[in-house]
């Protein structure tokens, strides 16, 4: 049998190799935990150059199918038919008298408190461009799987002015922040926006991402619908390779007569 496997031209060679290997992984020709043939061997197997193989391996890494380690090889870590191992619930439950219950995330380090100017997505979601805010940065992790995530709480000064204890000790657990806002007379509702992108180099370092897997990014906005004020912004950045977020979508019982059509942020 020829040393060359059958491939043609139309999509790029690298894409064809990636598809071929992905299909081989999916149908079990390469088992999870096994190492793929070396890059040098693949060059001969598919009759392509080193750069082509490396491009193909890069695609497989970003798809979350393999993991490459210098000096060892390319290891299959998934068949593509699995869900990420860590499930991060994003629910909020209201307690009896202004208390709130949130799924817990363990803190990896002490929170870092700083004062910043609102900018970028948080400013857009809060509708407060260039206003000052207190920023509380935490490195957290899921206690079940150890997945590290970056969490940031942004408290606009306008909000802190109405909840003075927040300004004094902003590094309290999130549910206490909600309680203090409730005690300050606010009615709290929440909306969360989810997107994803490739990590910036500094984010790769901070979160210890070895590959180029994307980052899930959420912005949770706490707002008071009666006063039409947006009070708080929380940002969470989590590696999509090892995380999935879980949202409870069960609607409230009664459908109020008005249709609260909430949309946009951008139109």
């Amino acid at each position: 049998m020829s040393a060359r496997e059958h491939i043609q031209r139309r999509p790029t060679m690298a894409t064809q190799v990636a598809e071929k290997v992905a299909a081989d992984i999916k149908r079990g020709r390469y088992q999870v935990g096994e190492t793929l043939p070396s890059e040098a061997l693949m060059e001969q197997m598919y009759g392509v150059g080193k750069a082509t193989i490396r491009t193909a391996m890069g695609e497989l890494k970003r798809m979350g199918l393999i993991e490459t380690r210098q000096g060892k090889g390319s290891i299959v870590i998934s068949t593509g038919g699995t869900v990420p191992p860590a499930t991060i619930p994003r629910s909020i439950q209201r307690g009896s008298k202004g208390s709130w219950f949130l799924p817990e995330l363990a803190e990896a380090e002490a929170p870092a408190i700083s004062r910043t100017s609102l900018d970028g997505p948080p400013a857009i979601h809060l509708g407060q461009q260039d206003q000052d805010a207190i920023s509380v940065d935490r490195m957290v992790y899921d206690p079940h799987t150890g997945t590290r995530m970056a969490h940031r709480t942004l408290i606009p000064l306008a909000t802190a002015a109405d909840a003075p204890r927040l300004a004094e000790a902003p590094d309290v657990p999130t549910n206490e922040i909600y309680e203090q806002l409730t005690q300050a007379g606010f009615t709290l509702e929440f909306i969360e926006f989810v997107s994803a992108r490739a990590p910036f180099p500094d984010e790769r370092m901070a979160l210890g991402l070895d590959d180029a897997a994307p980052l899930l990014i959420t912005y949770r906005i706490a707002f008071d619908p009666e006063q039409e004020r947006r009070l708080l912004c929380e940002e969470l950045r989590a590696p999509a390779a090892t995380c999935q977020l879980a949202f409870d979508l069960t609607p409230a019982k009664a459908p109020a007569k008005r249709a609260p059509r909430r949309r946009s942020e951008s139109e």
Copy 2:
């Protein structure tokens, strides 16, 4: 225990170039809409080879900062401080008598109905490995921005058996599916799982993704908490570069005495 929890290698030249260009974009040195210097010029500017520049450009593309077009150049499309233009609401509202209201998504083509064997994440979420299901595939788009997304509804045969009209005409709007399940006597609750990964080559084609931006992937599970049955799975794949998902997190009014700790799918 090892002394290296999260190692950090010194940044590669490609990463340094990417960081430099990203910083220049962020502080306005390159404006949105403008084309970056050509690759050949950048090789001289930074004193590196073409492969290094191309790796750096690849990073910037995946971060969503630039877009490259053959024959034209590399165009800045974002400063990194913006939210994706399309907001896809993922809320569910209950109507008066078993009716349901969902945010509308326009259909790009006629739905494709097929019968498949449950596999991968849908099988895991439904807890029905290797069971048969009706699959309804739609290409949908956000009417405001035109963003294309792939939507799939998976109706397990076990569910269709209890809602016969579903099996006859499964390609009805999603809210009608919910209504038929309600009429069949089910109490519906929903949970949605969100993750992200790089697209597979065929997904890049189907969704018309020119770059290597990641894909947001959601699985919405409709289940009956009383019968403890998982009834329906909907999958949505949307390009993260142009989409953000919006979830309403406002909790129900009363905190039932029991704490419905919903977690995992994976432990």
